[in-house]
């Protein structure tokens, strides 16, 4: 996988996680700034999806391909669903869910890179 993409994506997702937590803590409403950051992370996830699907043939076994593909395809939905919740329900709890989603994106992106590094 593209290491710079992974690093950038993890950094952006963790930033989003921290910012969303701060918003939840101070009961701040979702705004353009947070949505922009989230859109950036989502864009990174989609680029990763395309890049991953293009390169998936290089992985050595079927099981790794399956895990890799499952993570790749699942990831765009995680953040999108929590964001959708936060837009509909403007509460600190919905904002915390965005933080959870962003954290999941960071962890799963690292896991993707791990699978890629060891087995490609």
């Amino acid at each position: 996988m593209l290491t710079p993409l992974t690093q950038g994506l993890v950094a952006a997702a963790m930033l989003l996680c921290v910012v969303a937590l701060a918003y939840a803590l101070f009961d701040k409403l979702i705004n353009d700034w947070l949505l922009g950051l989230a859109a950036l992370v989502e864009l990174g996830v989609l680029v990763q999806l395309v890049r991953g699907l293009v390169g998936i043939g290089d992985l050595d076994t079927g099981e790794r391909k399956a895990t890799f593909a499952a993570y790749l395809v699942t990831l765009p939905f995680v953040l999108a669903l929590t964001l959708w919740g936060a837009i509909k329900d403007k509460t600190r709890w919905a904002m915390s869910a965005v933080a959870v989603g962003a954290f999941a994106v960071a962890v799963m992106t690292l896991r993707l890179q791990q699978i890629w590094d060891i087995h490609a």
Partner: protein
């Protein structure tokens, strides 16, 4: 506040998000384990599949949020707590039966112990929702006691 009585509103939103992510992760891993190398550790992989199923049931139960669904979600959380404790203990006692990671083995250490903490929070939250629904502080239009 009727909104606060719904299991997927308020703090429940966080629970639903975490349960949803775990449901996805556990289901993906479980399908893979059973499809690719079931014979290696059938017991562990069946438990893995059970865990995945329970996460899905708990997530759906909370999102639906009517009385019956809340009960089902509460039941799922209870089974989950028992499961993570039993499987966690077994994975230390009989490591041969768990050659590969599952969500519940080693008390969920592979998932940052989230599987251990989550059912406790889930049971606490769902019980709160249920008792608030049963004993509303203000008169409510619902006739169900």
């Amino acid at each position: 506040m009727p909104e606060q009585l719904h299991p997927a509103r308020g703090p429940g939103r966080i629970l639903v998000a975490v349960y949803g992510v775990l449901a996805l992760a556990a289901t993906g891993r479980s399908i893979l384990q059973i499809a690719e190398y079931f014979s290696r550790a059938p017991l562990a992989y069946l438990l893995s599949a059970l865990a995945a199923l329970i996460y899905v049931v708990a997530t759906v139960g909370m999102v639906r949020g009517d009385r019956a669904s809340t009960r089902v979600a509460l039941l799922a959380c209870t089974v989950e707590l028992v499961g993570v404790l039993v499987v966690g203990a077994l994975s230390y006692a009989v490591p041969d039966a768990f050659p590969d990671k599952t969500v519940w083995s080693h008390f969920g250490s592979g998932y940052g112990y989230v599987p251990l903490v989550l059912p406790v929070l889930g049971i606490w939250w769902l019980n709160r929702v249920r008792s608030a629904t049963r004993h509303p502080s203000a008169p409510r239009t619902s006739t169900r006691g």
